[in-house]
C-alpha cells in the first residue's frame, strides 16, 4: 500500500483529521446518550470521515463550504474549533452559533463554513450562489458543496447543478453517498444510475471514487480544486461510503441487515485503512497511536469544557433576527 511519491506529511494530516472527527463524534454521541447533554438530534458521520478530511485538505479558510445535517466532520476539517462546535451541540454560550443553531445548523463563517442545513438538498442552490458571487466579485476562491445520496432526488439538485454549469461557476459538488436516507435504502427510491450519471447529463465532469480511501479523495479533490482555481467549469464528485451508525445517534437502525454495519466496518473503515497506509509508509505504531490518543484527549477535554459552559443569556433569543423592526411581543 505504499507508493512512489506518497506525500507522507499529507497522509499523516489526513489521518489526524479523521481521528479528530471520529473522536469528536464519539464524544458527541456519549454526550447525547450517556450524559443527556445534547438535546436535539445529532447525525454522526462515523465511517465517513475520509470525505471530510480528503476534500477539506485542499481548501483554505477563504474557500467556501456548505454542508448538511451530517456536517460535523466537514466543519471540523474546514478548520472550525472543536470546542465551539461541541458547545454548539450542547447549546451553550460560545458555541459556533451562540447555541441557537445546534448540530444541524452548525456554521463558522470565519473559516468559510457557511452552514449545515436542516433541509435536505437546500444547500445546493445556496452554494451555487456563493460561487456566483465569487465570480461576480472576481475573487479566486472556490466553493465545495456536500450533500447526501438522498438529496439527489430533490428539485434543488437539478436546479443548482444546472445553474452552476450555465454560469460556469467555481464549485465542486460532492455527493457523500452513505447508501441510506434516514431509514430507507436510497437505491430503492432512486431512478437510473444515480448521482454521477445525473451530473453528467447536466454537462458536468463527474468523478466517482471510493469514499473510504482518503488519499484517493485528497488526490481527486486536489486535481478538481486546481482546475476550478484555473477557471474551469463546475465539477461533481460522487464518493461512495457507508453510514455505520443509525440515522441519528439514537437510531438503532434495526431496518438494515444484521451485521451489515459490522462487516462494512471491517471491510472499509477509512481510519483503519489510512493507518495501514501510513504504517506501510513507515510511520511507527506508536506515532499512529498517538494521533489517536491526542484526538481522544482533545475531544474529551472539549466535551468537559463545553459541559461546564453556561447556556446563552436569555435575551439572545431576540437578537440577530433582523435589523429592521423589533421581534418582541409588545406589552400592553
Amino acid at each position: 500500500m505504499t507508493f512512489a511519491g506518497h506525500n507522507f506529511e499529507r497522509g499523516r494530516s489526513l489521518l489526524e483529521m479523521m481521528e479528530r472527527i471520529r473522536a469528536f463524534e464519539e464524544q458527541a454521541c456519549l454526550a447525547a446518550e450517556r450524559d443527556q447533554l445534547v438535546l436535539g438530534a445529532i447525525h454522526p458521520s462515523i465511517g465517513q470521515e475520509a470525505v471530510a478530511a480528503g476534500i477539506m485538505y485542499n481548501l483554505t479558510t477563504e474557500d467556501i463550504l456548505l454542508s448538511t445535517h451530517r456536517g460535523h466532520g466537514h466543519t471540523l476539517a474546514k478548520g472550525a474549533s472543536s470546542l465551539a462546535m461541541m458547545r454548539e451541540l450542547l447549546g451553550r454560550e460560545g458555541g459556533c452559533c451562540g447555541g441557537k443553531g445546534g448540530s444541524m445548523h452548525i456554521a463558522d463563517f470565519d473559516v468559510g463554513m457557511l452552514g449545515a442545513n436542516g433541509v435536505v438538498g437546500a444547500n445546493i442552490t445556496i452554494a451555487a450562489g456563493a460561487a456566483h458571487a465569487i465570480k461576480l466579485l472576481g475573487d479566486d476562491r472556490i466553493v465545495v458543496d456536500i450533500f447526501g445520496d438522498g438529496a439527489i432526488n430533490r428539485g434543488p439538485f437539478l436546479e443548482g447543478m444546472n445553474w452552476a454549469v450555465v454560469f460556469k461557476l467555481p464549485i465542486l459538488f460532492v455527493c457523500e453517498d452513505n447508501q441510506y436516507s434516514a431509514t430507507t435504502k436510497t437505491s430503492s427510491m432512486t431512478a437510473g444510475d444515480g448521482a454521477a450519471a445525473r451530473a453528467t447529463s447536466l454537462g458536468m465532469r463527474s468523478t466517482t471514487v471510493d469514499g473510504n480511501d482518503v488519499e484517493l479523495i485528497a488526490d481527486t479533490a486536489a486535481d478538481i480544486a486546481s482546475r476550478l482555481r484555473a477557471g474551469g467549469p463546475p465539477e461533481f464528485l460522487h464518493a461512495k461510503t457507508y453510514r455505520r451508525t443509525g440515522h441519528t445517534s439514537f437510531d438503532p437502525a434495526t431496518y438494515r441487515p444484521a451485521n451489515e454495519a459490522a462487516e462494512e466496518e471491517k471491510r472499509s473503515d477509512p481510519i483503519k485503512r489510512q493507518r495501514a497506509v501510513l504504517e506501510a509508509a513507515g510511520m511507527s505504531e506508536a506515532d499512529i497511536q498517538s494521533l489517536h490518543e491526542n484526538a481522544q484527549k482533545e475531544m474529551i477535554d472539549v466535551l468537559k469544557e463545553a459541559a461546564e459552559t453556561p447556556f446563552p443569556t436569555n435575551e439572545t433569543a431576540f437578537k440577530d433576527v433582523q435589523d429592521i423592526g423589533s421581534p418582541a411581543v409588545e406589552a400592553y
Partner: protein, 325 residues
C-alpha cells in the same frame, strides 16, 4: 373506551379508514418503517407497500403526485414529516391543490389529507419547529385543522380522510405521547369548536397543544375564583365564530392564545372578528398571546423564551378582568 396516545389515535383512524375504503393510501418518506414519529407503525404489515408507500426525498413530488392521484379516484394521505419541509411543496399545495377545483370550474376534486406535524419539540431549532396554520387558513380551497387531543386526532383524522376537500392536517409534534380516552364512534364536524371547560368570567380561545395549556390555565384561574371558559377551535378553516361570539357575549372578556408567531397569526383573525362583531359588548381589553416575531433557538432556555405558557394565559386573563371597563 380505549385509552390511546395522540399518536396511536391517528394510527387507529388510518387503519379504520383504510379497512373501509380501499382507495385510501399513505405516502411519504420512511413510512414503511413506521414514519419518523411512529405514526404509521404496523400499517405496512397490514396494508402492504403500495398502500403504505415510501417516497424519495421529493416533497414537491409527494405533494404533486398525491394531488394527481386524488384527482382520479384515490384518497391519499400525504406525510410531510415536519411542517417545515412542507414548504418545499408550497406551489403544489397553494397554486395547484387549493386552486384546481375552482379554476377548472368544478370539474375536479382533491380528496386528500396533508399531514404536517408542527410546533415546538425540544431543541429542534428553527428549521424543525415552525407553526404556520395561519398561512393555510388564508388560502381559499383548503380546510385547516389542528387537533390537540387523542380523541380529536382520531375523530378529526377520520373526518379529514372522508372529506372531499384537501385538508391541511396539523398535528403537534410535542404531544405524540399524551394519552386520553378515545371513543371511536364520536364523529367530528368541521368547524365545530369544543368547549373544553365551561366558564362565565373570561373566554380563552385556542387550538392544538395550546388548548391543553389553556385548560391548565383555567384550572389555575379557578383556584383564584375566576371562571374561565376554554374554547378549543380545533379547525381554523372553517372556524367556529358562533362558539366564540356566544362565549364572549357571556363573559365579556377574551384571551386568544397560540404557539405560532403573534404577528399575522390566526389569533389576529379571531380578535379582529370579535372586535368587528362584538367589540362594543366587551367588558375589558382583548388579549392576544403568541410567540414573539423571532426564531426558534436550539438552546432550551432560548427556546422557552418563545413559548406561550399557561401562566401567561392566567396573567392575561387577570389583566383583562382587572381592566374591565
Amino acid at each position: 373506551m380505549p385509552k390511546l396516545t395522540y399518536r396511536d389515535a391517528s394510527l387507529a383512524a388510518i387503519q379504520h379508514s383504510m379497512r373501509d375504503d380501499s382507495t385510501v393510501w399513505c405516502v411519504g418518506e420512511d413510512l414503511g418503517r413506521g414514519g419518523v414519529f411512529g405514526q404509521y407503525k404496523g400499517l405496512r404489515e397490514e396494508f402492504g407497500d403500495a398502500r403504505i408507500s415510501d417516497a424519495p426525498i421529493s416533497e414537491a413530488a409527494i405533494m404533486g403526485a398525491a394531488f394527481g392521484a386524488a384527482m382520479i379516484g384515490t384518497r391519499p394521505i400525504v406525510e410531510m414529516r415536519f411542517s417545515d419541509f412542507a414548504l418545499c411543496a408550497t406551489d403544489e399545495l397553494v397554486n395547484q391543490i387549493a386552486k384546481a377545483r375552482f379554476m377548472f370550474g368544478g370539474q375536479s376534486r382533491a380528496p386528500m389529507v396533508i399531514r404536517k406535524p408542527m410546533g415546538l419539540w425540544r431543541s429542534s431549532a428553527a428549521q424543525h419547529s415552525q407553526s404556520l396554520e395561519s398561512w393555510y387558513a388564508h388560502i381559499p380551497g383548503l380546510v385547516v385543522v389542528c387537533p390537540g387531543t387523542p380523541q380529536d386526532n382520531y375523530s378529526m383524522l377520520m373526518a379529514a380522510i372522508a372529506c372531499d376537500d384537501p385538508v391541511v392536517y396539523l398535528e403537534h409534534k410535542g404531544i405524540w405521547d399524551i394519552e386520553g380516552e378515545v371513543d371511536f364512534s364520536k364523529k367530528y364536524e368541521f368547524g365545530k369548536a369544543e368547549i373544553r371547560r365551561e366558564g362565565t368570567d373570561v373566554t380563552i380561545v385556542s387550538w392544538s397543544n395550546t388548548a391543553n395549556l389553556a385548560v391548565e390555565a383555567a384550572n389555575a384561574l379557578s383556584g383564584q375564583g375566576v371562571s374561565a371558559e376554554v374554547i378549543d377551535l380545533r379547525s381554523l378553516w372553517p372556524w367556529d365564530k358562533e362558539a366564540v361570539l356566544k362565549s364572549v357575549a357571556k363573559t365579556g372578556h377574551l384571551v386568544v392564545a397560540h404557539e405560532s408567531v403573534a404577528v399575522g397569526g390566526f389569533g389576529a383573525e379571531i380578535v379582529a372578528t370579535v372586535a368587528e362583531k362584538a367589540g362594543h359588548t366587551l367588558k375589558g381589553p382583548v388579549r392576544r398571546l403568541g410567540a414573539p416575531r423571532s426564531l426558534v433557538s436550539y438552546a432550551p432556555n432560548l427556546e422557552d423564551m418563545l413559548r406561550v405558557t399557561s401562566e401567561m394565559m392566567v396573567t392575561a386573563a387577570q389583566e383583562t378582568l382587572k381592566k374591565a371597563s
